[in-house]
Amino acid sequence: MSVVIWDLDTDKVINRLKEGKRIDERAFDEYREIKLQKQISENADGSARVQLGETDIIAGVKFELGKPYPDTPEEGTMSVNSELLPLASPTFEFGPPSVESVELARVVDRGIRESKCMDFKSFCIREKELAYTANIDIYVVNYAGNLFDASAFAAIDALAETKLPKVEEDKLVAGEYSGKLKLSRKPILGTFAKISNNIVLDPNLAEEKAMNARFSVSTTEDEMLCAFQKGMGGSFTSAELSSMLDIALKKGKELRKLL
């Protein structure tokens, strides 16, 4: 029932690009429709659901308490985890995290962490002894291309809604909060696919299967770039990079307004 013949799709994607068109008629620098649902889980300290076209992501934030790392005794930390749920695609399976899932989590992590949007010092409860860890868990529930941008968007949206749980006797009090998490920036990830020699923003499933190189960049409201990730066996030129950076900054601004 889920038979997909990628080669045919790939041919179609490439042939349309030759005519200057994408198979779903979008402009080369156009995102699919984005739907955002906030606070989808009461038990989460923050959560969001993002649908980017048919790609569907649930992100939730949950704090835990722990000891600060020895080299940052006055700071808490964050951790991003992702699961490509078998709900989301006939090709996803349970098991240890795939390398794709690891890359997804780490790119989302760096896009947020390197923007310095969170003040990890504010996570510290007692120096050297007790600090919050923000666990950001990303669940892919429908896979239709560009998990990177949809996941990063869901993560930053969940964080924007996140409250810090109350701490009593060095334990978290479930369901009680001591304030909102402050975000000084809202980084937005922009991911491009290179297909033949065309570069398109926000590849859908068929485009992802046809792409030979991928590039992602996280951008902030103050026009900074805070993480790059090039992937796949193909290559980019310096000029292509320049162009993608410009588009990502522009599109990042538009997406940030949706938050």
């Binding site: 029932m1 889920s2 989808i40 889980s41 009461e42 038990n43 989460a44 300290d45 959560s47 048919e54 569907d56 649930i58 939730g60 934030v61 949950k62 704090f63 835990e64 985890n81 699961e83 749920l85 078998p86 709900l87 989301a88 695609s89 006939p90 349970f94 666990n135 868990d137 669940y139 529930v141 429908n142 896979y143 239709a144 978290l172 479930a174 369901g175």
Partner: protein, 248 residues
């Protein structure tokens, strides 16, 4: 001092529970079929605070092949809780509770499906719990049953479920977490084929009197039938929408 020791009034003189429900009253249930485009069938369900997504893939090839049954399809059911779906963060790896629930839930679906029509295949059912407040295994199974129908898999009947509870000596339907945490609480998840009233899932925790069984089952059956109506309505709604689309 411990919260569990407080003597609580779980059902008041008028028969009202702490959340205002009557003994045989279910929490609000909302079901939507066909919500995940990649899956062969799917459903989203809210049951009180519980929120679950169910997806069905199949009948499809069994890998590895020696797990296949030459006489019928096998049902593989995975119940999982999102790490943030519970008050204290859950380790993302599946725990023993999730494995056991997956086993009995998958078995509960077997009789409802015409498995013998699809030898050597697997019907995979995945359910993810996004938020929880007691009763998630039944919420998941209810959603899974709708997702199976949505996938067009031929079924003898739906599987409809509810949990029967006992608190402060009263049999009630569909415990919430506050009630489930009562010191003398009994929790009895039940799932049936609503038309034949056959029991396909039954578990129980707590201390129950022998004489309670018949009443508990009867109460549960009325709950299951209410759930059944909601399941049918969700499928009908999707069918109407699909039909409407075609007629446009």
């Amino acid at each position: 001092m411990s919260k569990k020791k407080e003597v609580l009034e779980y059902v008041d003189k008028e028969g009202k529970r702490t959340d205002g429900r009557k003994a045989d009253e279910l929490r609000a249930i909302k079901i939507e079929a066909g919500v995940l485009p990649r899956a062969d069938g799917s459903a989203y369900l809210e049951w009180g605070q519980n929120k679950v997504l169910a997806a069905v893939y199949g009948p499809r090839e069994v890998i590895p092949k020696h797990h296949a049954n030459p006489y019928k399809a096998i049902v593989r059911y995975a119940y999982r809780m999102a790490s943030f779906s519970v008050p204290e963060r859950k380790n993302p790896r599946p725990g023993r509770r999730e494995l056991e629930i997956s086993k009995v839930s998958g078995e509960a679906l077997e009789k409802a499906i015409f498995l013998e029509r699809f030898p050597n295949t697997a019907i995979d059912v995945f359910v993810e719990v996004l938020d929880s407040n007691a009763g998630t295994r039944i919420a998941a199974l209810t959603a899974a049953s709708v997702a199976l129908a949505d996938a067009g898999i031929p079924m003898r009947d739906m599987v409809s479920g509810v949990a029967i509870g006992k608190i402060s000596g009263n049999l009630v339907l569909d415990l919430n977490k506050h009630e489930e945490d009562a010191p003398d609480a009994v929790d009895m998840p039940l799932a049936v084929l609503p038309n034949s009233e056959e029991i396909v899932l039954l578990q129980m925790d707590g201390l129950l009197k022998r004489s309670d069984w018949e009443n508990a089952f009867e109460l549960g059956m009325t709950g299951c039938k209410k759930v059944y109506e909601l399941q049918k309505a969700a499928l009908k709604k999707k069918y109407e929408i699909a039909n409407g689309d075609e007629q446009k």
